[in-house]
Amino acid sequence: MRKKMFRGKKYFIEALWEGLLKISGSVTSIIIILIVLFLFSEGMGIFKKKVVEDGYVIAVNKNNPVKDLSPEQIKNIFDVKIVSWKELGVNINEDEITLLRLDDIPNYFPEDQIAEDMSNLPQIISQILKEHPGMIAFIPEDFAKKGFSEKVLDLGNINLKEFFGGKEWFPTAQPAPQFGVIPIVMGTLWVSLGAILIALPFGIAVAIYSAELASKKVHKILKPVIELLAGIPSVVYGFFGLIVIVPLIQKVFNLDVGETGLAGSIVLAIMALPTIITIAEDALRSTPRAMKEASLALGANKWQTILKVTIPYSISGITAGVVLGIGRAIGETMAVLMVTGNAAVIPHTLLEPVRTIPATIAAELGEAPKGGAHYEALFVLGCILFIITLIINLVVEYISSKNKNKVA
């Protein structure tokens, strides 16, 4: 009887333990799902936001035939880059565009007639707009409600096309913030590409050296060195880049500022090296000894064997390492933030300041008010990063599964 109870208790503990393990095992999956949920739900909010800054509207004269303005057009109008309605394809008797912001009202209307609580502002603004058919006004929503008689433009929401096709990232612009991700995506690609071009020859050379040539003694030095390189915090790389590499680039290329895409590429290359080396080395080492020996027995020397047997055999593993290295470079935040100069312009050469997706998030999230369009735009950038890493992982998985088939 007692024995039976003991067994029951034992069984119970065993089951409990197994349940606990199962729960722990599923934690990572749950976290991924949560990340997707939170990132996307915060990010998608931006496509429900109005083009114009929250709480404001754009208004024109009642007879103005203009129907729709893109955020870019609005920005150019208020930056006085577009000065006539013709440029917007609108025919109107007063062709020149005049701007009306709240501060401008005293220029058109005696200040002392504005009520203290500003309750008559809707009427005043209507009157000014009526007198100036070519005027465009940027006013708080409240003044365009009761007593307002002119036309409020319905500009709609920020849309996908403007977001992913926009060439300007200027999230704090007034009256219409610009959320075009092209310069940032381009910046990320440029910097990562540069990093891989630098890291690739070094990474593969070290991997081959370490796997095929190095004596045990050298290997014993090389391995901890690579481990240490991987362990140094990215902010320390950034600091080193800022103090050593940035001035160096400025001097060598005779630039005004040394904070350039190239500085980012160099720092990222150093940071991506450990990933490339470790994975490529593992791949090289997995080449069956028999294959190498067969090659040597046929009269090929060591170099020919490496070139014609070992590398082709392990090429998928090497590719996986390189792809993962690219992934690291794309996602790296602090080092890039500190050395690339963070100008959100489409780069033409690597010697210009650029800005990457992670750096943009890190630099701007602190200043973006929670729940605003800017805040949500940064979450969309986070989604883009997440999707990129997912794709990179799938590619690596595909490459290594192909490799397994080959071995089988």
């Binding site: 034992k10 065993e14 606990l20 393990l21 199962k22 722990s24 095992g25 934690v27 990572t28 999956s29 976290i31 991924i32 990340i35 939170f38 915060e42 020859p201 070094f202 050379a205 070290v206 050296y209 190095a214 090389l222 901890p224 060195v225 481990e227 240490l228 390189l229 362990g231 140094i232 915090p233 990215s234 902010v235 320390v236 790389y237 950034g238 600091f239 080193f240 800022l242 103090i243 050593v244 150093i270 080396i277 020397n301 170099w303 020919q304 992934g327 794309i330 996602g331 790296e332 935040t333 500190m338 992670p358 998030i361 890190a362 602190g366 986070g382 990063l385 997440f386 890493t389 992982n393």
Partner: protein, 288 residues
């Protein structure tokens, strides 16, 4: 003969290129380490390690940042270590080879390669805003814990994989249950490798900046945290701030060198400990 000569020459030149490039990589590491250690060592003093920052962070010490990093790292490990080890045990000992395991492993890999800034975004959205922890040690620790989790899982799995199956079957044959086998046989043997992995992941976590930027750290705090819901300063963020946007960047240069030195030292020492442990345990196994 000519062909043979060329063959030899090709090999020699290729190998020399590899040697030089490998040397260059080692040189780069020592350049970075040397640069920071030489410059940073001058900034280090007892006061630097135990005093509050003064004069807009151009003088004084980095004591609150050290304490903050300690809190955040410890917090993240309290969260990541148990779950990670249990998860690793599940994957290696219980899960078998079905699609569930493949899925979980894929998810773990994915989690491991998500950029740290995305963790920062997620931590801010979930812990700081939704759960309303505010910028606090707990929010930062949890975010860092998520980042460390895949590392701990992978290390545990690797460590368990190295245990020969005969130990498990032997234990089971003697009448032990699966749980007893794992707790009394498998885990003690895998323990050294798990611990080394853990130490290395502590090094990784303590240097992370992006995940804590929006979940835990403050630009400047003249006091120590009193509860887990307080904001803290942290070493990596402190280094970032005083080297890019401090009140007087030139004047705080020494402070920056010193902070970088401390950060590097943490990583170096943890790496040394991990290597020493690895060697110690492997010798022990051999003599047994």
């Amino acid at each position: 003969m000519d062909y043979n000569k060329r063959k030899k020459l090709n090999q020699a030149s290729a190998f020399w290129i590899f040697r030089i490039m490998s040397l260059a990589v080692i040189a780069i590491l020592f350049w970075i380490l040397g640069f920071i250690i030489v410059n940073g060592f001058q900034a280090i003093s007892w006061d630097f390690l135990t005093k509050m920052p003064e004069d807009g962070m151009t003088k004084g010490g980095i004591y609150p940042a050290i304490i903050g990093t300690l809190c955040l790292t410890a917090g993240s490990m309290i969260f990541a270590f148990p779950i990670g080890v249990l998860s690793g045990i599940y994957l290696n000992e219980y899960a078998g080879k079905g699609w569930i395991v493949r899925f979980i492993r894929m998810m773990t890999n994915n989690l491991g390669s998500i950029p740290s800034i995305v963790f920062g975004l997620f931590g801010m959205s979930l812990f700081v805003n939704t759960l309303d922890f505010g910028d606090s040690i707990i929010a930062g620790s949890l975010t860092l814990g998520l980042l460390a989790l895949p590392v701990v899982i992978r290390t545990t799995e690797e460590a368990l994989k190295q245990i020969d199956n005969s130990y498990r079957t032997g234990s089971l044959a003697l009448g032990a249950t699966k749980l007893q086998t794992i707790v009394k046989v498998v885990l003690p043997m895998a323990f050294p490798n798990i611990i080394t992995g853990l130490i290395l992941s502590v090094g990784r976590v303590s240097g992370e900046t992006a995940p804590i930027m929006f979940t835990a750290v403050a630009y400047f705090l003249p006091m120590l945290p009193s509860s887990i819901f307080d904001q803290v300063m942290a070493l990596p963020y402190h280094l970032y701030v005083i080297s890019t946007s401090g009140t007087d960047i030139e004047a705080s240069r020494t402070m920056a060198y010193g902070t970088a030195f401390v950060l590097i030292m943490i990583v170096l020492i943890l790496n040394l400990i991990a290597n020493a442990l690895r060697r110690y345990f492997s010798n022990k196994v051999k003599t047994n």
